[in-house]
């Protein structure tokens, strides 16, 4: 027990010492790790923002409109309202009178609004309920529950547009995951390669340790600690660069272009935790695993 503890302590000492004494190589290696992670961060933000934008757009279509028959009594209307509210995900239900509807049309149409002139007297538009749902996926149920109900003439939602948007969102999500997956893979590859180059340049040292009678674990230990520290430092640097860089950019965009872009962009806060987690995991993980794997070859002596 005491022996093991002493050996462990000595391994840690060697690890920190080794890192310090090889700092010129270490700097290059940490810099590469940071650089790769910065790239990963930029892409992550890019893809999350695109995703965000698409998701944001879909929420603009998250309503179901229920057109009512003319002249129905309050009982029927209450029943429709209640049925609608019973569905999961319903956020609000708003009554839109036929006059209001015409007015809205007029606004929407803008320059072509004159086409609607003269419709006021014999307004062909129906009264309706506009039901907002929390997320688009809840719309389908609402529609089904209301269809065929007494007093309901027609239930309408932008199924086509929504389906298309959801599909696009899906593809972007899948595409994003694929791209990020590739990037993570490539980052891992570059980082482990960097570690490999660092370890390779010290193969003679590893050999000497072996010949003096150090066990593989004893030799590996300090290198793993070094690798982990390099990875950790690299990821911390990249987290700082990505987070503050993006915060600066985000502010700039917000101040200069107001809402135009801001809605598309994911907020720095939202990504901070993810990035910290992902980066540390990659940096430290690859630092450790990379050291172990790249040493394997040199330990067989």
């Amino acid at each position: 027990m005491n022996l093991k503890f002493r050996i462990l302590k000595s391994i840690f000492k060697q690890g920190f010492q080794g890192m310090w004494r090889n700092r010129s190589m270490g700097v290059a290696s940490v810099a590469s790790i940071s650089a790769v992670l910065v790239i990963l961060g930029i892409i992550l933000i890019l893809i999350l923002s695109i995703n965000n934008f698409v998701m944001d757009t879909t929420t603009k279509f998250d309503e179901v409109q229920v057109f009512l028959e003319n002249d129905i009594d309050d009982g029927i209307m209450t029943k429709i309202e209640k049925t609608a509210m019973k569905n999961k995900g319903v956020v609000s239900i708003i009554f839109e009178s036929k006059d209001q509807a015409l007015e809205n049309f007029r606004k929407d149409w803008g320059e072509e609004a004159y086409l609607l002139d003269g419709l006021e007297k014999n307004n062909p538009l129906p009264n309706s309920y506009i039901i907002k749902v929390e997320e688009i996926k809840y719309a389908e149920n609402v529609v089904n529950s209301l269809k065929g109900l007494d007093g309901v003439e027609k239930v309408q939602y932008d199924k086509e547009v929504i389906d298309k948007l959801l599909m696009i969102a899906d593809y972007i999500r899948v595409g994003g995951i694929v791209i990020i997956g590739i990037l993570v893979f490539v980052s891992v590859f570059i980082i482990s390669n960097t570690i490999k180059l660092t370890v390779t340049s010290r193969r003679r040292e590893i050999n000497i340790m072996k010949y003096v009678g150090a066990t593989n674990n004893y030799i590996r230990g300090p290198f793993i600690i070094e690798g982990v520290l390099f990875g950790l430092i690299g990821s911390i640097i990249s987290i700082f660069i990505v987070y503050f860089g993006y915060e600066y950019f985000f502010k700039l965009v917000n101040e200069q272009f107001y809402s135009l872009f801001a809605v598309f962009l994911i907020t720095p806060k939202m990504i901070f935790k993810d990035i910290t987690f992902i980066f540390c995991a990659i940096g430290i993980g690859i630092g450790a695993v990379g050291s172990i794997v790249s040493m394997k070859r040199f330990l067989d002596v």
Binding site: K4, R6, I7, E205, G213
Partner: protein
Amino acid sequence: MIKLISVSKEYDNGVKALSDINLEISKGEFVFLVGSSGAGKSTLTKLILKEEEVSEGSIYLNELDITEVPNRRIPYIRRNVGVVFQDFRLLPNKTVYENVAFAMEIVGAHPKDIRRRVPMILSLVNLSRKASSFPDQLSGGEQQRVSIARSIINNPPVLIADEPTGNLDPETAWDIMRALVDINGRGTTIVMATHARDIVNSMKKRVITLENGRIIRDEQKGGYELEVPNTEKHI
């Protein structure tokens, strides 16, 4: 202690460095290994340390056939063998003190023991002043003495020294030899490959002479006598 049974070594590039070596060295012996450059002395020491694998034959160290030992166990075998390497093999990123202490740390020695023993051994090889120097700040002979210090720090039962005095002036070389004799007197088996004719001749120990990878002479209380049968022309 050390027993080689029809050991041969052929390197990957086809060089036959050792052929059919049979040899037995008992516990506590002091053996010189002599032979001209390229005769196979270092190869023999490398085989005992399992730095190289034998091509044929077996090597017993303390009744244990080391050619059969699984990789995992090799470090523990090496700890029983102190080695002075011909090319020193000091860790470039560690000071003299740390290089010597390293051999103790890997076996989990107590820090107190390390702090006591390392300075002692360093003063034995006359390097106390250089404790905090790095290997590339040392002269050739100083590096060699660090390698010697490291090899004996753990009081190994076997000590293999590959030309431990090649970079030392005669005076210092004799200091080292006295130290080795002293260690040998306390029970350590010593195998020393060397070209130092004076030393071999005056020590009157067992001398094994290698030539072209074969043992051509093995004498108790021998001397340094090299016949080079098939030399190429001299200038």
